[in-house]
């Protein structure tokens, strides 16, 4: 445990170690450094790092704070937009497509809802992308509180 404690001294700021490092090591040699002491050292190192002003540390701290605030705000806000898409597959629908559709519906269950439906065309459409087995997509995005369904397709 003493070895771990002595390694943790390196977590303290360099300036602090230059001033107190030697006597701090002597204290660790004298005292019985158990796991509570190791935790105390870790806590002390973090406090000491943040008590020494430094631009990279400030930037890191503000970035983490901004990220956490963003996460909290986004989790508290209700979803505003709903997107819907319908993909028509012509001809025989390959079995391998169905899991993809299910996956897309599953990932769309978060803040941006998406409904992907599998449809069939019994006759060839002029909007088909290719001759044999084509596909066509339709859908839109609308405000959840403004309209019932898609009216402004993108």
């Amino acid at each position: 445990v003493k070895g771990v404690a002595q390694l943790l001294i390196r977590l303290y700021p360099a300036g602090w170690r230059a001033r107190y490092g030697e006597e701090f090591e002597a204290l660790l040699e004298d005292s019985s450094a158990g796991w509570p002491a190791v935790l105390d050292l870790l806590k002390g190192a973090i406090k000491m790092q943040f008590s020494v002003p430094s631009f990279p540390k400030l930037a890191l701290m503000l970035s983490i704070t901004g990220l956490l605030i963003g996460l909290v705000v986004s989790s508290l806000l209700k979803p505003i937009y709903v997107s819907e898409a319908v993909v028509y597959l012509e001809g025989n629908v390959p079995g391998s497509v169905r899991p993809v559709v299910e996956y897309l519906n599953a990932v769309g269950a978060g803040s941006l809802k998406s409904n992907l439906t599998l449809g069939h065309h019994s006759r060839p459409s002029s909007e088909s992308l290719s001759g044999g087995a084509g596909q066509r997509a339709a859908g839109g995005c609308y405000r959840r509180d403004a309209e019932e369904g898609p009216s402004n397709p993108h």
């Binding site: 002597a26 204290l27 004298d30 005292s31 002491a37 050292l41 870790l42 002390g44 406090k47 000491m48």
Partner: protein, 95 residues
């Protein structure tokens, strides 16, 4: 009274001590075992305020001494604590 800075000042009010001696003294008179990080965090803050300073020659087991301003600060803090203890005890009695 568990503020580490007050515990260190109270320990040094008796006489100069190095880190480990402070740790043992505090455990004896307050029943609190300060961890090394907490102890040296307190020593760092107290030295920054000018309330303690290293005494004697530079040594691996560096002793510290309380300064006159440190002693004055300790007296003020203890007087405040004494007032709190007195008020708290009287209210507990009458409750």
């Amino acid at each position: 009274m568990s503020d580490p800075t007050l515990l260190v000042l109270s320990s040094l009010a008796e006489g100069d001590k190095h880190g480990y001696a402070m740790m043992q003294d505090i455990e004896t008179f307050a029943g609190i075992r300060l961890g090394p990080g907490t102890l040296y965090g307190a020593i760092t803050r107290l030295e920054e305020h000018g309330w303690i300073r290293p005494s004697g020659t530079k040594n691996r087991r560096q002793p510290y001494t309380i300064t006159p301003s440190g002693r004055q600060h300790l007296q003020q803090e203890l007087a405040t604590l004494q007032q709190i203890v007195k008020t708290g005890l009287s209210r507990v009695k009458h409750a």
